[in-house]
C-alpha cells in the first residue's frame, strides 16, 4: 500500500480549530436542501474520517473526482482528519485519464459521482488497469453518497514528499494532468494571504460557481471561507445565464466567483441583474476577460470584475480590490513576489515566488523543479509587466492551448487521435468561432473514411469532453517541413479557406 501510518497534519488541525470554535459562523450552502453549519460539517467529516479509517490503508491517498456539493467538502475535510491526502481532480476527467492518475499517483481510494455529469449520465464502474498496474475492488457507497473504489496497487508507487497534505492537479497542459503536492502550510498561507488581501470576514457571503477542485474556488473561496467563518454558497447546477441570475437574486452575495465565460454570458443578457446590492468583489481568473464584458457589466449593473492572477503551482499571486477597465490583474498578495526573466531572453516572462507554492509534481519527477530558478521562482510561461506596482498580463509563451480557462495539451489530444486506426496524421489547434468563443479543432489525414462523430466518440471515451475537438476537418496531407514540423502558415491558410475563421493558436 502507498502510505505509511501518520498523524493528521497542520491543515486538519487548523481547519478543525476554525470550525470547532464557538465563534465560527461558517456555513456551507450547496442547494435548497443542502446547508451545513460548521459544527455539522465537522461532525460529518469526523464520521467520514472514521469510515475511511476502516478502509485500507491507514492514511490513504483519496482521489476526489466529484462535482460541487456539501458532501464534497465533508469528504475533503474528513480525509484530512483521517490523516489521508485528498487529491482533487476535475470531475470531467475521463476514466482513461483517471486510470493514469491512479497508477502514477498511487491513489488508494477513488471517490466519484455516480453520474459522469448532468449531461453525460451514469458513470461506469472503474475497472482493473489494462496494464496490470493495479486492481480495483467493486465500488462501495461512501457515507457522503459518493461511490468509493478501493485500489490495490501491483507495482511500487511513488512516495509523497514528507509534509504533503493535499494534492491538486494542473488542468492538463502536460499529457496527464500533473499532480501538485502541497504542504499544509502552503495551503494555509494561500488562504490567509487571500483573506487579508480580499478583506474577507465572517459577514461575507461567497457565491462560487467554480469547481472546488479548481484553484479559483479552492484558494479564494473554500479554505478562506472556512477559516474566516464566511458563508460559502456552491450551486451544483450548470451555470447557464438563467441559473446564475437566479442564484444571484437568491443568494445576494458579497463576493462572486466565476469564470470569464459566465461573465460573458451575463453581459449578453438584455436584462439588468438583481441581487447585487451587497456585492463588493467579483472575481475572475484563468482566461482573459473580453473588454466588452467588463464594460457592459460595469455600466449596466455596476459590477466591476477583479481579474486576478494565479497559477495552480503557486496559488493566487495578485488581486485588485478596486478594478477599473485597464487596471490589469492588480497588486501582489502579501508575500507574493513577481520577477522577470532577463537572462533567458524572455524580457517579460513572469517569475513567481510565493509561500503557498506546491512542492513538486508527484507524477512527473523533476518536472516542477525544472521550472524553478536557482532562487526558487517558478517560471510561469506567462508574459506580463508591472505598471505602478500592478501586474498586467500580456500573453502566454509557448504552445499551450487555453479553452475557456482550461490549459490543455495539443500533444495529448493529438496522441489520442493518432491512436485511432483510421488517422494517419493530425494537427490540433484552437480557434475563435463565429460567436467569439474559443473552440478546439483538429485537422486530420485519414486512411479510411471515418466520420467526425465517430472520432469525437472515440475521444470522449479517452479524454475529458473539453479536450474533444469541436471542429474536425479532413485534408489529404498536413504541410510539414523537411524536419517533419508542421508548417503553421500553410495550415493557417488552409483553415482560413475551409472555415473562414482564423486559428488563434496553431
Amino acid at each position: 500500500m502507498a502510505s505509511p501510518d501518520r498523524a493528521a497534519g497542520l491543515l486538519a488541525d487548523q481547519l478543525t480549530a476554525a470550525l470547532s470554535s464557538e465563534a465560527s459562523t461558517f456555513t456551507l450552502v450547496a442547494g435548497e436542501d443542502e446547508q451545513l453549519d460548521s459544527a455539522t460539517l465537522l461532525r460529518l467529516a469526523t464520521e467520514f474520517g472514521s469510515w475511511l479509517h476502516r478502509q485500507p490503508p491507514a492514511a490513504p491517498r483519496v482521489l476526489i473526482r466529484a462535482r460541487n456539493s456539501a458532501q464534497y467538502v465533508v469528504a475533503l475535510v474528513g480525509t484530512l482528519l483521517a490523516a489521508g491526502v485528498p487529491m482533487l481532480l476535475d470531475p470531467l476527467t475521463s476514466d482513461a485519464e483517471v486510470a493514469e492518475v491512479i497508477a502514477t499517483c498511487g491513489v488508494d481510494l477513488v471517490l466519484d459521482d455516480l453520474s459522469a455529469g448532468p449531461v453525460a449520465g451514469p458513470r461506469a464502474a472503474l475497472a482493473d488497469d489494462e496494464q496490470g498496474r493495479y486492481r480495483v475492488h467493486a465500488g462501495i457507497p461512501a457515507p457522503t453518497g459518493h461511490r468509493a473504489t478501493i485500489v490495490d496497487h501491483r507495482t511500487v508507487v511513488a512516495s509523497l514528499v514528507r509534509g504533503t497534505e493535499l494534492c491538486r492537479f494542473t488542468s492538463g497542459s502536460t499529457r496527464t494532468a500533473a499532480c501538485i503536492e502541497f504542504s499544509g502550510a502552503a495551503v494555509l498561507t494561500a488562504a490567509r494571504s487571500w483573506i487579508t488581501a480580499s478583506r474577507l470576514t465572517a459577514r461575507d457571503r461567497v457565491l462560487c460557481f467554480a469547481g472546488l477542485y479548481n484553484g479559483l474556488a479552492f484558494n479564494t473561496s473554500l479554505i478562506p471561507s472556512m477559516l474566516a467563518g464566511a458563508t460559502l454558497i456552491v450551486p451544483s447546477g450548470l451555470p447557464t445565464r438563467g441559473y446564475v441570475s437566479r442564484q444571484l437574486a437568491t443568494a445576494r452575495p458579497s463576493v462572486l466567483v466565476a469564470f470569464p465565460a459566465i461573465y460573458d454570458s451575463l453581459a449578453e443578457s438584455d436584462r439588468a441583474l438583481t441581487g447585487l446590492d451587497q456585492l463588493r468583489l467579483s472575481l475572475s481568473s484563468a482566461a482573459r476577460l473580453a473588454p466588452s464584458t467588463v464594460e457592459i457589466l460595469a455600466a449596466r449593473d455596476d459590477l466591476h470584475i477583479s481579474d486576478y492572477y494565479g497559477l495552480a503551482e503557486t496559488g493566487p499571486v495578485t488581486l485588485e480590490l478596486n478594478p477599473a477597465l485597464g487596471s490589469g490583474q492588480g497588486l501582489p498578495l502579501p508575500h507574493a513576489e513577481i520577477a522577470f526573466d532577463h537572462e533567458a531572453g524572455h524580457e517579460c516572462e513572469l517569475l513567481i515566488r510565493t509561500p503557498s507554492m506546491g512542492t513538486r509534481y508527484l507524477n512527473y519527477p523533476g518536472g516542477f523543479e525544472a521550472r524553478l530558478t536557482d532562487d526558487g521562482f517558478y517560471r510561469s510561461g506567462d508574459e506580463g509587466e508591472l505598471r505602478n506596482g500592478r501586474l498586467h498580463l500580456l500573453g502566454r509563451l509557448g504552445k499551450g492551448l487555453n479553452i475557456n480557462g482550461r490549459k490543455i495539451s495539443a500533444d495529448e489530444i493529438r496522441g489520442v487521435l493518432l491512436s485511432h486506426s483510421a488517422v494517419r496524421d493530425c494537427h490540433v489547434f484552437s480557434l475563435e468561432d463565429e460567436a467569439g468563443q474559443t473552440v478546439l479543432g483538429a485537422l486530420l489525414v485519414t486512411t479510411t473514411e471515418v466520420s467526425p462523430t465517430e472520432l469525437r466518440r472515440y475521444c470522449l471515451e479517452r479524454l475529458a469532453p473539453y479536450k474533444t475537438p469541436n471542429r474536425i476537418l479532413f485534408t489529404s496531407s498536413i504541410p510539414r517541413s523537411g524536419s517533419g514540423k508542421p508548417q503553421l502558415q500553410r495550415i493557417e491558410e488552409y483553415l482560413l479557406g475551409q472555415l473562414q475563421l482564423a486559428p488563434i493558436n496553431l
Binding site: G121, G242, A261, T453, R456, R457, L460, P465
Partner: protein
C-alpha cells in the same frame, strides 16, 4: 406539431453551436449532440434559449441527460407543457 417543435429545437442547437452543427444533423434520429461537437459552453447557450424562447424551466440540479438529443429535449418540453 411535434415536427415543428423538433425543428425549433434543432434550430436552437445550430445557433448554440455557432453553425457547426446543422439543423439536419441535430434533428437526425439517435443523434448525440456531444458527439456532434456541442461543447459545454454551447449547452449553456442551448439551455438559456430553451428557457427564454420556449418558456420551459429546466431544473439544472436534477437529471438533465435528455439534453443530449433533440428528441429528448422535445419530449421534455412536451411533458413540461402538459404538466
Amino acid at each position: 406539431m411535434s415536427s415543428t417543435l423538433t425543428q425549433v429545437i434543432a434550430r436552437m442547437v445550430t445557433r448554440a453551436s455557432s453553425g457547426s452543427i446543422s439543423e439536419e444533423q441535430a434533428a437526425a434520429p439517435n443523434t448525440n449532440l456531444t458527439e456532434q461537437g456541442l461543447s459545454s459552453l454551447d449547452y449553456l447557450k442551448l439551455i438559456d434559449a430553451i428557457e427564454i424562447e420556449l418558456g420551459v424551466y429546466i431544473d439544472l440540479e436534477g437529471d438533465i441527460g435528455f439534453l443530449t438529443s433533440v428528441e429528448g429535449i422535445a419530449e421534455y418540453v412536451r411533458l413540461q407543457r402538459a404538466s
